[in-house]
Symmetry: D2
Subunit: 400 residues, 4 copies
Amino acid sequence: MLNGEKKISRPLRWGMVGGGRLSQVGYKHRSGALRDNTAFQLVAGAFDIDPDRGRDFGVNIGVDANRCYRNYQTMFQEETRRPDGIEVVSIATPNGTHYAICKAALEAGLHVICEKPLFFTTREGLEIKALAEEKEKIVGVTYGYSGNQMLLQMRAMIEQGKIGEIRVVELQYTHGFNATDKADKISDAQKWRVDPKMAGPSFVLGDLSTHTYYMSQLIMPHMKIKRLLCDRQSFVGSRAPLEDNAYVLIHYENGAVGRLWTSSINAGCMDGQRIRIVGSKASLEWWDSQPSELKYEVQGEPAQTWIRGMPYLDDQCIADERLGALHSEGLTDAWANIYLKFAVAIDAKKHGDEETLSRLIYPDINAGIEGIRWIENCVRSAENGSIWVNYEKTYEISEQ
Amino acid sequence: MLNGEKKISRPLRWGMVGGGRLSQVGYKHRSGALRDNTAFQLVAGAFDIDPDRGRDFGVNIGVDANRCYRNYQTMFQEETRRPDGIEVVSIATPNGTHYAICKAALEAGLHVICEKPLFFTTREGLEIKALAEEKEKIVGVTYGYSGNQMLLQMRAMIEQGKIGEIRVVELQYTHGFNATDKADKISDAQKWRVDPKMAGPSFVLGDLSTHTYYMSQLIMPHMKIKRLLCDRQSFVGSRAPLEDNAYVLIHYENGAVGRLWTSSINAGCMDGQRIRIVGSKASLEWWDSQPSELKYEVQGEPAQTWIRGMPYLDDQCIADERLGALHSEGLTDAWANIYLKFAVAIDAKKHGDEETLSRLIYPDINAGIEGIRWIENCVRSAENGSIWVNYEKTYEISEQ
Amino acid sequence: MLNGEKKISRPLRWGMVGGGRLSQVGYKHRSGALRDNTAFQLVAGAFDIDPDRGRDFGVNIGVDANRCYRNYQTMFQEETRRPDGIEVVSIATPNGTHYAICKAALEAGLHVICEKPLFFTTREGLEIKALAEEKEKIVGVTYGYSGNQMLLQMRAMIEQGKIGEIRVVELQYTHGFNATDKADKISDAQKWRVDPKMAGPSFVLGDLSTHTYYMSQLIMPHMKIKRLLCDRQSFVGSRAPLEDNAYVLIHYENGAVGRLWTSSINAGCMDGQRIRIVGSKASLEWWDSQPSELKYEVQGEPAQTWIRGMPYLDDQCIADERLGALHSEGLTDAWANIYLKFAVAIDAKKHGDEETLSRLIYPDINAGIEGIRWIENCVRSAENGSIWVNYEKTYEISEQ
Amino acid sequence: MLNGEKKISRPLRWGMVGGGRLSQVGYKHRSGALRDNTAFQLVAGAFDIDPDRGRDFGVNIGVDANRCYRNYQTMFQEETRRPDGIEVVSIATPNGTHYAICKAALEAGLHVICEKPLFFTTREGLEIKALAEEKEKIVGVTYGYSGNQMLLQMRAMIEQGKIGEIRVVELQYTHGFNATDKADKISDAQKWRVDPKMAGPSFVLGDLSTHTYYMSQLIMPHMKIKRLLCDRQSFVGSRAPLEDNAYVLIHYENGAVGRLWTSSINAGCMDGQRIRIVGSKASLEWWDSQPSELKYEVQGEPAQTWIRGMPYLDDQCIADERLGALHSEGLTDAWANIYLKFAVAIDAKKHGDEETLSRLIYPDINAGIEGIRWIENCVRSAENGSIWVNYEKTYEISEQ
């Protein structure tokens, strides 16, 4: 169990790009990173495209006014000059800016933590990966939900053979907040999400399903997609070509099949993500509206509910526990788990501790690239008439 | 509300083919038909392929030993000679026998109530439909679950515009009782289900999904399928070519999309059917593991649960209520509703009351044919590589 | 599993007092008794205080007009003269009439099945018990919910030590349909329930809690009440002195404690009964809004849900199964189970088969008397200032 | 909505007594207080009765080794000498030490935040209240769960008349972790809880039910207890006279009735707290195992579920929202809400801003005293034979 005691020698000096006053996700980054003040310290930021608002905000959350910058370029320039400059930066800006900021950060010698979907193309992803390797820096991706330790429980149970061989994978991340186009018109955060220039080649596939897809890989690291078929729609027409609803069918290499549904027009749905893994003996099911519960259903036996915080859980799951059973944890705790692992990864990287890095399970650059790959393959299928396509490693290259 | 008082002038004289001692579904037929003794009276039967066991069983449920026949042919022959002979027969035998028995029954001048899937081909369905019209007889199909009155509530709410325009249709009928091949080897009822000669061109698509598909049509009579894609698997290999798991993607003519999942290898799943209809304003969701509850989720408002038996429900729903709120109804009540409608239809047919017939909502011959059509289209897609196929009215003919 | 085959040599000739067109519970009696037509045949009735309406109703459910009587006295007189007269009668009339009708029925040589609460006083109960013994007749009491076989599962698990020693018993039967006095004014069925002359010394204690109390005894036959305290209220003042809400605290002889809450003003509550038995190792919980599920919670282990119809259940539970897992059963099935046991008991009594009688678990005259005893003790506590009172076997006598 | 921006001019300098490495609750204090680093800064501590372990721990969570003190006396002495000394201290030690530490802290001129139950007697509570007033200091009590904003939603809905007049109050805080005496023997945190010298006159009444009782007052501030009856047990005998299970019956001054069940032997129960408030028109129900959901059940209408983070909620509820709908909040968020209000209260007190103080809803010294009063009255009833007792303002005085 975690209680806030340090996992690395000292907190990392941390800055943010974006995530200011109007950002909902920015607060999740801070809540995760600063949970215990033993992993990160927020010392600088370029929080807003409106520099004055950004400075005011930064000061209000305790950042020195002099280190509230007008843009990320200035921040990287100034901070790298300081002996106490930031070591790591989080990027919580619209998708279309991730690549440039990420590249600049790495070139400035910073570790990077970036929002999903990471970039627009796997080619960009591979380029940044090469740059990170060259610079010996970590790139983490904030698949925030994936920090829920019950997912590690699922992973452990599958690895232990508790469900048998995997046959069917059901993935869902849907909500209904964009059932009408109202949000597109009012909210800045929603406006750019349906603009291909800022959002990239997808809306909900990138914005929502990359989380769930990553979580499926976290749970079942051995499961590789062989081919898929994606059927996507823009029920609010103004969003076309970007989809507000998509269905994906999946064939895995081991013969298993899967489905994913992602939507922002699933009116009234408040469950967010649902994951069900069906094996030859039993199934596991987790919903993020009840994040402390894991259904374990062995065919022919009473259904079981495994509950967060209990001693019968796997060591890997308990290691990320903070509050103990009966005490509800939420998304903030999941983000704190992710951010703590980013800190440990960065610390290990700094010390060349490759063993720690090799054992650490967290959403790294590869997970970020895989998310882009997922989108690319889905979009390619959808744009070709919702047909089956082989799951290509690098879409652009393979297309040539 | 129903309380058992007669809806037709006198109970119909009723016989059964199949449904004997070893049949699980036979008891559902009897429980439904004989609920109040005012719609049907069981007076004859050819209950079993083992005539002695069939006679013993018949006597044990109160049928005169002389009217427990060795096979359906004898029953039809003998009963038609009697002045008090049966007027209607229910067929609860393996799929592969439906067509012949149904035809013989109609030719013997009987009304028919038959298990699903009705026959193997729509061609057979159209032929039997023509025969029934010629003979002026009713053919009902026992989509038993569809008698749950909460489905009529969904139908009414959709018709009243309470969810807006339909966008997404989620259908599911899965269980895990065939996760291994054990059942195929032990249970006679399961053995024939995976034998194409007796089961027809599908296993779970026919055995399970025809129920859910009919229910979707009951709820949304205006929704027509334009094209679909079916991906099916035989996770227990000995079942091939018949599937124990299938995914279907659907495009409706109005632009809505849908999915259906049917499976008998969804290990540990005990929910049976789940139906979710997403509209532009709200969604409706019903699970048959909680058959008295209907979720009505208006986007942006508190979620609602509408509960069976309550006065706020639609008249059509309340009309089929038997016990009142707080008092759980189950599948027996649903079958009783269906069978009562069969009786009313037969009675109306006898009296040439076409007005009653035109208003009556029940699973008739057309619903049976539509079920076969659904299977044919699914199988056609699956066999051609799980591709999109236009939804054809009559598969065989369209294939020529 | 039950499938409708006969359990006794021939169906019993059965009549009803009350339970006519306006009665909600009458239909439950008929649905239970006539489920399979192998236990009872309805051949006579005095269905209504309005004889014409009663006759019309009787004919409508298939009873010979000549055997639809103007009152129970006439029915008993006429039927006893017939060679094919009724052998058993069900009484579904207001509480205040049970004693007289029951007495008359026994004196006419009939077996009796009577609604709860059986009579107003245990003294009446003991008198009728003596009369039934003298006449060698069965008196059954329609605690209808108690026919749910999952209660037998609870009984078996407790007997097998699966929860350890019982410590805490939580009982609840509440609804909100009488939150206002509207029902008292409109519905005849509700009017008499708040009139002490017809209802007896209690409203919800008798009308609701006797069910749950009986079920608790069915589940835990070894648990005896040592003392109790009852606090009752009439939130709708016109109901005083009869209560529309009551709390009971219980001390059992083994040191366990318990609570019961019964109410008809629990606004919006649609769960009906809830039973939780806490043992030293584990708990069992059942709600009648989800009658197919039994929660089994072992301290320190994953929570379990045991589901109706599954092979892992106890033999006693499976013996009363009708539809099989995945197929919802409801209150009608529970009533059918109770009525079938009444038939078996009557048949055994007729044949002097005391061994069958001694093994049969069903709500008999003793269960009926115990229900009255429960009410008497609760009312005595409440009327004396909601104080602790020793649980007296016969209130009136012990008071002298 | 909250996003971490400062609510007071600068963070308060904060110290802790107790809450060290072995303390589960200490981490909750820190997670709540330090959520955003804009309300509190942890600068000192006497974290442990083992001073070395305490210092090591303090350093590990970022406290200067020189300000990790061997005991609270030294901390108060040293810190008051520093110009940058602590302004406020949190006390997370066994109950028996609260009074002395609290008194010392106030005398040292510190604001105080203290665990519940606050002290052993209301007399102590009144004395400390007088001292706090004299010193012009805030005393806050960490009823941590009460920070869940859905409780404010309940408060608002009740105030707005949405459930009518309150009739029945159902309160529960139970778990099963002490079903055996194992925990008493192994865990230090549990050992003292069953030792009257450290725990005071109760175990679960103080440890658990004071939370729920406070929450009931938060939700229904106008409801005053007139009399109560408490029946308590020690199912694990070694805990006597302290109870591991207790039932309380309540009569409110307005005629409403209530019950509370608190237990640590409710084997397998993982729901923690449940609160149901029944009004004349509707009921509200909240469970802390599903802290984002509020059931609103209007009699005669579909049941509603109001969900955290949605715009339809009351302003007071939304004001404490952090993550937004679909994003689960947990106990950490509730503690953060409470601690933020402590900070605002302290800041207002410092500035003599009595208007802010009068509007602020948080668990203050009066709430702490009321918790003791609750225990005293319950214990008095239980010790006198589980009888009804008038709810006395100050037990000890009234007894003279």
